[in-house]
């Protein structure tokens, strides 16, 4: 706003091209005695801001606090060494004798499992001297199945499901450990990892781009950074096996591949340059599944299946959600899980659902429910589900037949991906013998300060909802009553 400056002579006016401002000049504002604002020279109430606690030290570096939260500790030097604990090995993994005992994981295997990001936080590894796993019925079952795979060059395709704390991820870890011991190539898509989180495959935390070579509708999307991290995981965890395997096929890549290059080096090329990570991954997979050279079986695992069985958080150019199956890595896994693509050299495709970090995936839940409780034989338990109680002890339970909710929209792509020949295993609680073996291990490690006798085992087994292993752990070593 233009304001006239006070003139020297009250009658005269300064020259200005703007219209003359005829009104008297505005006087300086007098403080209004009724106004609520503070007045000059008058003391008013001042409320000091609260002293916020300012720490003197340096603030944590970006990612430091998260790294501390996601840290995986695999040893407790205070815990006692368990005498006579066997190590998991090729010889004893399917041995009926070790059912119900805890076996240790040998050191090099632990490094491999760590590189494959098979361990998760909150699994209680940090309480014991060294990582050990309980060999339960399902562990021996998977060991036997892996042997069959080797002998018959079959592909084992299976989903582990079950309630929270029932040991799905640990059974998956055991399968991965056994595959490492058998010198398989293991490709893991973990549910939660240090750098690439969980849902990271689908939660739009990593960059994505449409796949230029795809001509299908809907179009495919590739996640270059995630693919590079996947390749790095493959290369680190399987370095011993992959460095012995040489490139046998000819690949059309942007960078030339020498004929004698090892597959480990091939994977590292993709790690170094995320732009070509996806073509490298395809080339690596082609090498691993080629029948021209001798290739080991492959294990492909994914934890947290629900995340890839629904729309992802990514958006297409029309701002419609991209289905998770249109992301190349998720598509790769689902194709192998449902049997659309096969593993000619044999192998296993294993997935586990998650019950603690559950995405809303009603189609997957419906597909699993329909398979576990088929309407045709509603009263009898499904043959694939393994139960801790024998059938003679189990009461016939009438179940409401699993039907589609008419008010829910289901995803047909997801329903079709759960094919009838895909095996679904619902993990139940431990038997009491297995629970006893686990508790004896706790006690021998010095973590459980109680006599492990029949009544104690039965008590904890019952408190744990019939031997749910996570709850047994909570009740006996993790809780406030130790």
């Amino acid at each position: 706003m233009l304001r006239c400056s006070p003139s020297i002579h009250p009658g005269s006016r300064l020259f200005s091209t703007t219209p003359a401002f005829l009104a008297n000049p505005i006087k300086a504002k007098r403080p209004d005695p009724n106004s609520s604002g503070p007045q000059k020279g008058v003391k008013s109430l001042k409320i000091k801001k609260k002293n916020t606690l300012r720490s003197a030290g340096r603030p944590p570096a970006p990612g430091e606090r998260k790294a501390l939260r996601k840290r995986i500790v695999l040893s407790n030097t205070n815990a006692l060494e368990v005498k006579g604990m066997q190590d998991l090995s090729n010889d004893n993994m399917a041995d009926k004798q070790i059912q119900g005992t805890v076996v240790g994981l040998p050191g090099p295997l632990v490094d491999q499992l760590r590189a494959a990001e098979a361990f998760r936080t909150g699994q209680g590894w940090g309480l014991f001297r060294r990582p050990g796993v309980l060999m339960r019925e399902n562990s021996l079952e998977i060991a036997r199945d892996l042997q069959d795979v080797v002998s018959g060059k079959k592909t084992l395709r299976r989903i582990y499901t079950g309630e929270r704390g029932s040991g799905k991820s640990v059974v998956l870890l055991q399968a991965i450990a056994m595959a490492f011991l058998k010198d398989w190539v293991v490709v893991t898509i973990p549910e939660a990892s240090q750098n690439r989180i969980a849902q990271d495959l689908t939660n739009a935390h990593t960059e994505y781009a449409p796949l230029s070579s795809s001509t299908t509708t809907p179009s495919q999307y590739v996640q270059r950074a995630y693919t590079a991290s996947l390749l790095s995981r493959i290369s680190k965890a399987n370095s011993a096996v992959l460095s012995d395997l040489k490139v046998s096929l000819s690949h059309k890549l942007r960078i030339p591949i020498q004929p004698g290059t090892s597959l480990s080096h091939l994977a590292d090329l993709g790690v170094r340059d995320p732009d070509i990570a996806w073509p490298i991954f395809q080339a690596l997979w082609g090498e691993l599944t080629s029948t021209k050279a001798a290739r080991p079986p492959i294990m492909l695992t994914l934890d947290g299946l629900g995340h890839i069985m629904r729309d992802s958080q990514y958006r297409d150019p029309a701002f419609k959600p991209i289905h998770a199956h249109d992301l190349t890595i998720a598509r790769h896994f689902v194709d192998h899980l449902s049997g659309v693509r096969s593993l000619p050299n044999g192998g296993a495709v294993l997935a586990a659902t998650s019950a603690s970090n559950v995405p809303f995936a009603p189609s997957l839940a419906l597909a699993i429910d329909q398979r576990l409780h088929p309407t045709t034989s509603a009263s009898s338990p499904s043959p694939s589900s393994s139960s801790s109680l024998s059938s003679s002890q189990q009461m016939p339970v009438w179940r409401k037949p699993v039907q589609r909710n008419p008010f829910m929209t289901y995803d047909e792509r997801v329903l079709q991906s759960i094919t009838p020949d895909l095996e679904i295993v619902e993990l139940q609680g431990l038997t009491r013998e297995e629970a006893r073996g686990l508790m004896e291990y706790y006690a021998a490690s010095g973590m459980l300060r109680h006599r492990v006798d029949e009544s104690f085992v039965t008590e904890k087994w019952t408190i744990a909802g019939g031997g749910i292993v996570g709850e047994i752990e909570k009740a006996s070593v993790m809780g406030p009553r130790v």
Partner: protein, 321 residues
């Protein structure tokens, strides 16, 4: 207006009370053991051994069994000769029949040789069913252990700390924090003690602490627990000045003060990680700092004790001579 006559009311007073009156309840024995306050005029040597700042340490299991056996009129284990139980059972097969169930089970296991029962648990339960006809499960041994009550299933000190940590009535959050604290104590290296800040006289060596986190927690709390508080009696010192009077505290009161100080000091610590377990980690670090003598809680305790000593002349204020 005529006075209202209520015949019913007078009749009602004639009924006897079925529940005991408050007065009769008041004579019930005090549950919490209090630390005996010693007057300055009392003799230096206490009449009976004081309980110390912690709860009385129970005797060894064997000694307890001897006392129990004595009370029941049985022999109990022979501790003088140091004879192993197995030897006694071997030379006296009759005693095997009367031996407790657990010992018999253990002997049965040892013959199995694997340390793990081969037969199924259900079968074992069936055997015991025969032992106690009319019951689905064997009867518990009496008297029941103190922690077999649902309301008292946690250790008293664990329960105290949990409830003091609780905010907004969220007990399960406090319990999770408590278990995180105990886990942190178990996984952190054994504390290095500071001779300047002595712990309880009966404290076990520091290497034993991580494997017994409840004891670790109790040791930290009981070691810094103040023996007294200062009551300010207004105007009693003359001229409107408050008179500082030291007042002895009971066991639970002492622990409560120590835990409050501990939690206050922990909340002032800087959180290193992020996520849910941050506070629990800070509390656990503070507990370790207390045992190592680094915590500021020790200074608080020292200040209260110093004030108590300087105001010791006021102890008998207001008491009848």
């Amino acid at each position: 207006m005529p006075p209202r006559l209520n015949l019913l009311r007078s009749a009602r007073t004639a009924f006897t009370r079925s529940t005991p009156s408050l007065a009769s309840r008041a004579v019930a024995p005090c549950v919490f053991r209090c630390v005996p306050a010693r007057e300055h005029s009392d003799s230096e040597k206490p009449q009976h051994k004081p309980n110390g700042p912690s709860r009385e340490v129970p005797p060894h299991v064997t000694e307890e069994a001897v006392a129990l056996g004595k009370a029941y009129g049985e022999g109990g284990p022979e501790i003088e000769q140091g004879t192993p139980v197995q030897e006694i059972l071997k030379r006296d097969p009759k005693s095997l029949e009367k031996a407790p169930q657990v010992i018999r089970e253990e002997l049965g296991q040892n013959t199995g040789g694997k340390g793990r029962v081969a037969s199924s648990t259900l079968e074992a339960l069936d055997e015991t069913e025969v032992m106690a006809p009319g019951h689905n499960y064997p009867l518990p041994e009496l008297p029941l252990a103190s922690n077999l009550n649902l309301k008292h299933r946690y250790d008293p000190i664990v329960q105290l700390v949990t409830s003091l940590m609780m905010k907004d009535g969220k007990l399960s959050v406090a319990q999770r924090n408590m278990s995180l604290i105990l886990q942190h104590l178990r996984t952190s290296p054994p504390p290095s003690l500071n001779p300047e800040r002595p712990l309880l006289p009966s404290a076990p060596p520091p290497s034993h602490l991580p494997l017994n986190p409840t004891l670790y927690l109790m040791l930290a709390i009981d070691s810094v627990a103040p023996l007294l508080r200062i009551r300010a009696q207004r105007g009693a010192a003359g001229g409107g000045v408050a008179l500082q009077i030291p007042v002895p505290l009971g066991l639970r009161q002492r622990r409560r003060r120590a835990v409050e100080w501990l939690l206050e000091a922990a909340s002032k610590r800087r959180s290193r990680g992020s996520g849910k377990g941050g506070f629990a980690q800070r509390v656990a670090e503070e507990i370790i700092a207390v045992v190592e003598g680094k915590s500021t809680v020790w200074d608080k305790r020292g200040a209260v004790h110093k004030l108590g000593v300087s105001a010791r002349a006021n102890i008998n204020f207001g008491r009848r001579r």
